[in-house]
């Protein structure tokens, strides 16, 4: 590769010959390896993408087409890496397959699109098929970046699912392999049924459904890394005694899985990134401390040894060797970092007073989102780079904002806020932009974003 480049620098003719020979030979031999150059200064640019409405192939209810397009548009607009071209700039003729795409119409002003996502929907009987295409309109000779047919039933739910799949594929193509989150779920606590129960919904707030029916209090849901289980804090009476305990709910079998009961109060469970261990707070020996146990409940051991409350453990999802937690050993409850065996405790110093709670790691294990109550009395979401201890404030002047949780793509954060007057679930991009409300009914809190 390198010699190839150097040859080019000195002898351009020679490389022309080499390229010609390489083209004559079967492409892909070791001697004709392709390469490209790129680089970065500061900042990341967004792709300008046009998403015309899908054409309808067979007579189909237009409601399906509208659902598909609305969901696709919403997914792409909210994915964080795209800049959607406003539909008012689109050419009048919308393509539904690659042969109908007129590149210049889309790449020139006013659309000025870089890529176009388009396709068609067809309904045959009860089946819905969506053919999705993604083309680079600046390169008429370039092959289509993505062409795929998504199949499902001709229902509103499946139209939604197909749109999510197409959106995820587009995001994966354009972000360099990091798939989107359109098919992820958010678990949260809602009291709309009368009791605080664990609910789940799609990442965009649709399809909200109740998961637990314990008719008591359920708090702090946390997904297992394979998204088949949710660990949470439950108040299930046992022999006449009601105390907070750790419960585990299986989303696959739709019921609770047995987990040991311990003395005292037990709360705020968190799965380790490999799913083999659970860290939680327990006061079984008097002081509320953090304990770690196997996912089945065996091999219980204590990892914090400090007077005061130690709670809200959160494993570093990248390494699994670090736990962030909250402790009031120094007075106010603030964030601490420790190794997963409890050694190397380090206080995360903040440049102001107040208390900081609800740690949540970004998927790359480098950023920590948390809620910080500053002396001004505001509760706001902050993100800290744990290496350099730099802080970014994500919410401001909008009620109380608490309990952040990162999305698996590292670009979104879900949190609870009472900015509308009631406690509701909101999500936003990880830079604080594009906040949007996901729940409206009752009081909803403590969201947790599912792994992919």
């Amino acid at each position: 590769m390198k010699t190839n480049r150097k040859t080019h620098m000195t002898r351009k003719l020679a490389i022309f010959a080499a390229v010609a020979i390489a083209l004559l030979l079967c492409a892909g031999t070791a001697s004709a390896q392709d390469w490209f150059k790129t680089g970065t200064g500061l900042g990341v640019s967004k792709v300008r993408l046009a998403v015309p409405e899908f054409g309808l192939r067979a007579p189909a209810p237009p409601a399906l087409e509208k659902t598909f397009h609305d969901v696709l548009w919403s997914d792409l607009e909210y994915c964080g890496i795209l800049d959607l071209v406003s539909p008012s700039f689109y050419p009048t003729q919308t393509p539904s397959q690659p042969s109908e795409l007129k590149f210049a119409d889309w790449s020139n002003a006013p659309a000025s699109a870089y890529m176009v996502a388009y396709g068609n929907l067809s309904v045959e009987g009860t089946n819905l098929a969506a053919a999705g295409f993604l083309s680079d309109v600046h390169n008429p000779t370039a092959p289509i970046a993505l062409q795929k047919i998504y199949r499902g039933a001709a229902t509103d739910a499946d139209a939604r699912r197909l749109a999510h799949q197409f959106a995820d594929d587009i995001v994966a193509k354009l972000s360099g392999g990091l798939a989107g989150i359109a098919q992820t779920q958010i678990a949260f606590v809602s009291s709309r049924s009368g009791n605080k129960e664990i609910w789940a919904m799609d990442y965009d707030g649709s399809n909200q459904h109740q998961m637990t029916h314990l008719k008591s209090i359920s708090l702090t849901p946390r997904w297992s890394p394979d998204a088949t289980k949710i660990a949470f804090t439950c108040y299930v009476p046992f022999r006449g005694i009601t105390s907070p305990q750790i419960c585990i709910y299986s989303t696959a079998s739709d019921r609770l899985i047995s987990f040991p009961r311990y003395r005292g109060s037990n709360s705020s469970p968190a799965y380790s990134p490999d799913g083999s261990q659970i860290a939680f707070m327990s006061s079984q020996n008097g002081d509320p401390e953090i304990y770690v146990t196997d996912a089945g409940g065996g091999n219980l051991h204590r990892i914090t040894f400090a007077a005061g409350v130690n709670t809200s453990p959160a494993w570093n999802p990248k390494t699994g060797k670090q736990i962030a937690f909250v402790s009031d050993r120094g007075g106010d409850p603030v964030l601490y970092l420790a190794n997963s065996d409890g050694s190397g405790v380090e206080k995360l110093d903040l440049p102001d007073m107040g208390y900081s709670v609800d740690p949540s790691w970004s998927p790359n294990g480098q950023l920590l989102a948390f809620c910080w109550r500053r002396p001004s009395g505001n509760f706001d979401i902050y993100v800290m780079d744990v290496i350099s201890k730099q802080l970014v404030e994500l919410t401001r002047d909008a009620g109380r904002n608490e309990r952040p949780s990162w999305a698996p793509d590292g670009r979104h954060i879900v949190f609870e806020s009472n900015r509308t007057g009631t406690l509701q679930i909101w999500s936003m991009l990880a830079d604080g932009s594009q906040p949007r409300q996901l729940t409206y009914q009752g009081q909803n809190e403590s969201p947790n974003w599912s792994p992919r």
Binding site: M1, P143, Q366
Partner: protein
């Protein structure tokens, strides 16, 4: 009979001058001065500012005859790929490469893939890990190969910035990005080489 003459040794010092002169006292050699004087370092201080001619303002080389003046060209017609390089903070930001630049035509055919790689690696570049005292670092060039399934291998720093923390942050940005997206299905090769540069400026 007379006694035989006895030769008695004369104990008196003979005052006559001998045949030989006594040796002169040994000469103590004089110390030679050093051939070169000890340099005085405070005189060798570098000037505080080095003035170099500006390549932009003082480049007297005439433009090539087929050059289009700045701003007068419109969209170039050659198939090339250019990248938006952030917000003008990178000093030597603009770059492009053409179809015949010796790298095959991967960049021209799959420019969306090139941009996706750039976006992914850029977003993984944690500049906070660079030494806080560094305001600016020369360009780091990291090369690596992308396999068919998007795995990054063979990460090498081919041009160092001269600062280890900048180089390390660049390599980590690349390593954190694996796996990238699959290489496009239309691409027949087994891997693609990438030369990725990083301009650090605080």
């Amino acid at each position: 009979m007379p006694r035989p003459e006895l030769a008695s040794p004369n104990r008196v010092v003979d005052e006559s001058k001998g045949l030989y002169k006594s040796e002169p006292p040994p000469k103590i050699p004089e110390k030679q001065p050093d051939a070169t004087p000890i340099p005085k370092f405070d005189r060798l201080k570098a000037p505080k500012y080095v003035t170099r001619p500006s390549k932009v303002l003082e480049n007297k080389a005439p433009p090539p005859p087929n050059a289009v003046p700045y701003g007068g060209g419109g969209t170039p017609t050659v198939p090339y790929t250019s990248f938006a390089m952030g917000t003008g903070t990178a000093t030597q930001a603009g770059m492009g490469f053409s179809n015949d630049a010796g790298g095959g035509n991967f960049g021209a055919r799959f420019s969306w893939y090139v941009e996706a790689v750039q976006r992914r690696v850029s977003s993984n570049w944690i500049q906070a890990t660079v030494d806080p005292g560094i305001q600016f670092a020369p360009r780091v060039v990291v090369t690596f190969d992308v396999l068919k399934d998007g795995t990054i291998t063979n990460v090498q720093v081919t041009k160092s910035s001269g600062n280890a923390s900048v180089d390390t942050s660049a390599v980590r940005a690349v390593r954190d990005s694996t796996p990238l997206g699959r290489l496009p299905a239309e691409y027949s090769g087994s891997k693609v080489g990438v030369e990725f540069w990083f301009d650090y400026k605080r």
